[in-house]
Amino acid sequence: MREFLEGSQAIARAVALCRAGVVAAYPITPQTHIPEGLSEMVANKEISAQIVNVESEHSAASVVLGAAATGVRAYTATSSQGLLLMSEVLFNIAGLRLPVVLTCANRAVSAPINIWNDQQDSISLRDSGWIQLYAENIQEAVDLHIIAYRVAEEKNVMLPAMVCVDGYTLTHGWEAVNLPEQQAVDKFLPPYNPLYKLDINNPLTLGFLADSDYYMETRFAIQKSHQEALKALLEIFQEFNKYFSRDYQNGLIETYRTQDAEKVIVAMGSVCGTIKDAVDVLRKKGKKVGLLKIITFRPFPAEEIYGALKKVSKVAVLDKALSLGGQAPLYSEIRSVFFGKKSAPKFIRSFVAGLGGRDITLDSIINIFNKLSLKETKEEFLDLKPELLQEKL
């Protein structure tokens, strides 16, 4: 049914449709409306999930770890500092191979304190072993939660999944959303049936000490399982497209007007909507431009990205996060796809934009396309204010 919903409400409804059994979250802007929505549904007896109130994000993550270990479908949501506080437990959830799903309402990281959107929080957790899916709009945010549980619980995957939704733009924006029917979701996402769980009738220990004789294999297994997840996601997205009448292409990446494109911007999340508008504007003027949207960032779909960009001559990678002291994270990974390859773009350039919620406007995007015509550009911080950088202490 099509409903006009706030992003957070829509995500809460999606999690309810997935029949999460245990929900533990600690409020943090801009994630708050999501657990609020779930609490309300539980209070109104619309769903039978157990809400566990906790004193911090570290506890929230620990509760969902424990819940998932006993074989329950578990859910949490957080943002920014909250995600970082969870980080120790997030590595554990991945290491214990528990298919928890987490919504990250993407927000900048302190200091200075800033509650607005960029993607530094989830990008900082890219090495944790979690699957990471990035939503462009609220409809995608809803769908990606259902897909996240499905792929996380695949027997040959068994990894936690993070659905990354841009704070405010998606969590507080309103959109007409197609919420699937409960029956359809139940069929697409059958009840969680774990391979192993904490059970007093069949005791086992999860999270034992693994010394140098054992540890490396557990990490190798996660790496291999991410490759399995890549294959699983391709199939799951196909099934999802068919079953719910959507078009996520292969689900790992989405190409927008790239077929004959000479200039392409690569990006993740809600900014892709703005880029699509900019592409349409420039296409009307006859410019051959396009967008490559990364939906699945972990596991990283290198092969699909290679296929989509190998014939494009000029590529810009737009990061809404940094790896301070190094290259922008998405940029460096896109570049590494082409090392040693015969067909590759003439150049790939880095553009950092929208940090701490700075607007990325249609003009900002058109500016990127224009800059791709220049012979040289440095690593660009888009719409930077040089007057704020004078050293007056």
Partner: protein
Amino acid sequence: MFGPIFTKPLTSKNNKTGSWRTTQKPKFLQKNCIACKMCVLICPEGCIEGEQKNTYHCDYDYCKGCGLCVEVCPKQDIIMVEESQNL
């Protein structure tokens, strides 16, 4: 693919903690032993066994090479030797 992520009860002996040993291991000389059992009592791994004089020995699958048995032996009948030495 999983790798070892859980264990069943009563399986801790499968975990050969002797791999923690680094460069040295204890050698039980079995010459001047008086069967005082001090080495058995002090071993944090509980991996030393013996009854009669000069019968005491340790299980290298679990010995972490801490050297406490060498320290405690009143007869200096246990010494630390290089890990590579064949016993």
